[in-house]
Symmetry: C2
Subunit: 357 residues, 2 copies
DNA sequence: TCCCTGCGGGAAAGGGCTTTCTCTGCGGTA
DNA sequence: TACCGCAGAGAAAGCCCTTTCCCGCAGGGA
């Protein structure tokens, strides 16, 4: 591997001069020397050692990002937003997948700190876990104490800057929509209990139902992994336990797609027999059949805002940007089936067999 | 930011000893000093500077990966395979998205080389572009000359180790399936012409049709971006120009999903009026409606093999592993509609209106 | 008692680059 | 002619670690 001094020797100049040419330094270098250096670089196929450079300049420029999984559409969209702003500012991103493992998350904070990132962005739900939260905040505080900037996306537990999707309002929207369509027996397939995203969305949903005089008993909720298979499996369990349901809210679109698969396998027509509402509005939502009625979160924008916050000058009072959720009506949610409506007031637990011709 | 000598000073030992404790070196250190160092580390929240470490040990360990886009399911699956093996070998991955921009690809080769990666994996189609290919090979050769290992996934143009999905055989499979179902008027929505993946898949498809006495005239092919919107748009153009088609092969699943959307918008029933076959079998393929009949590529396995190759000892003769494609029958391809079959021999250009009741 | 061995620790030499500081030599001014 | 100033190049001091080499000391064998 050729080094800078190899280049310098070959060009017959000092390493200092070679460095200045290569980095287009402001210090002037005569054209002749410049040419010789450039020629040497080309001949030797010289590429500067990034670690040595990063060590020598104390200039921190990269930004660290910790997400659940970049290939999960939710995070892919957020990352797209982050990337866009980062590119505009000539910042490199170091993206790490935590796979929702708190320990891994902690490790990555250290790893990124060790890599001297200028800032840290944590995207994705927080955990209902005191110990973990304390540890994470400790590490983040230590990082901030050394001049690092931190922004979280969708987490309450951090005290600094944050970009927050309005999960609670989104849950409320989903609930109100279904109530408006006449549904009374509404079930939920939810992500892991330990995630604050799950509880926030659930809280909003519950509020909507309560306001409309409905209930959301615990037997109408099933918790599972926040992905397609989790949704499929939770939907099966839910339907087994509560066949009278006329609507299901999935707490993210991946789960909704899994639920749709279960429903299809059981021969239940959506939305004629049972309605489904998703959450997030990831790109594929419009391409499944029936196209998913869902709660849209401005995912790309969340990324854009977070990166803008993190690159902006630090201000004293923490900034929290709450981004609104919005209902997107497509084809997976419809009016409650007539049979269910007729009996709803009197026999809310009527079996599915009753509600369907 | 605390440094190693801060820790050493605080613990009252030399930096050498501190380093040995922190890195669990084989050189013995008395328990008392060890404890003092550990205590200092904890108090100072010390995290070693990764760049300094990487510079000091000449040990290269990370592996660089260049893909089109990690959040594209095709590459997400490959990356999953890469990651699995890398994790087993305690290797860090540096993943870069080229977004199919040749210049960016070249830049990333340099960037990763600068970051002293132990190996480089390039995943994704090659380009029909002499100049670019020569440049890339030049850079890769320079990298290999300094001891770097290179493996490509799905590219012919590199002369070293490679993992190759059998794109041609896959195209053949798709063609044979549709011929077997009686289709004669088969259209193709293809990715960009400049990609070797496109031409390989197309070649296999054409071979199948030719063997069955069918043709694949250029007017039955439309080229577009290799994504959902490209597929939707290409399908529209194709249908406008050749309404007599009874089957469409999309050269990847994303395009197929876009095509499905166009077909739905136009009120064309799949597969009753028109059949669709995809390519890749990405996870979502089974969840769209109708579930996609497609050509499966062992994407995760491709990643696993590539990473295994790259981490294995170098051998003199380049290894090329060709991984087979496989047809997955689902619901989007069916027999040619009766009307089309009846008239096929005589009026192959019968309008769509004729073929459909 | 002396020497050798080996253990535990520190000094110091890199690793490859950036950047400040220093030096040389030339042109211009008094 | 003497001096000042400045442009352009190089010397060298870090940046923060790892690791080799060396040293002192204690214990064991002769």
């Amino acid at each position: 591997m050729a080094t800078l001094s190899d280049v310098a020797r070959r060009a017959g100049v000092s390493p200092a001069t070679a460095s200045r040419v290569i980095n287009a330094s402001s210090k002037p270098v005569t054209d002749e020397l410049r040419e010789r250096v450039l020629a040497a670089v080309a001949e030797l196929q010289y590429v500067p050692n990034a670690h040595a450079q990063l060590l020598a300049r104390s200039h921190r420029s990269a930004v660290g990002v910790i997400v659940h999984d970049v290939s999960d559409p939710y995070f892919a969209e957020i990352t797209r937003g982050l990337q866009r702003v980062a590119t505009d500012h000539c910042r490199l991103l170091m993206i790490c997948n935590s796979y929702r493992d708190p320990d891994r998350e902690l490790e990555y904070v250290e790893l990124l700190r060790g890599h001297q990132v200028a800032a840290l962005i944590l995207a994705g739900s927080g955990y209902h876990d005191e110990t973990f939260t304390r540890q994470l905040n400790g590490k983040l505080a230590a990082y901030e104490a050394t001049g690092g900037r931190v922004v979280v996306i969708g987490r309450h537990e951090h005290s600094g800057d944050a970009v927050m999707p309005d999960n609670r309002a989104g849950g409320y929207l989903a609930g109100r929509e279904l109530c408006g369509l006449g549904h009374r027996a509404i079930g939920v397939i939810a992500g892991p209990r330990i995630l604050t995203t799950t509880t926030d969305r659930l809280a909003g949903l519950r509020q909507a139902l309560t306001e409309q005089g409905r209930e959301l008993p615990e037997r109408h909720i099933r918790y599972a992994e926040f992905d397609r298979d989790g949704g499929a499996e939770a939907a099966a369990r839910l339907l087994d336990a509560a066949p009278e349901l006329t609507a299901i809210v999935a707490l993210n679109d991946s789960m909704a797609i899994g639920a749709l698969a279960t429903l299809r396998a059981r021969g239940l027509a959506v939305p004629r027999q049972i309605s489904v509402v998703g959450f997030d509005d990831m790109p594929i939502a419009r391409d499944v059949t029936p196209a998913l009625t869902t709660v849209r979160l401005p995912l790309v924008d969340m990324g854009v805002r977070a990166m803008s916050l993190v690159l902006a000058a630090e201000v004293l009072t923490p900034r929290v940007e709450v981004l609104p959720a919005e209902l997107v009506r497509r084809d997976s949610a419809g009016p409650v089936p007539p049979a269910a409506r007729a009996t709803a007031g009197f026999a809310p637990r009527a079996g599915r067999g009753d509600a369907v011709s």
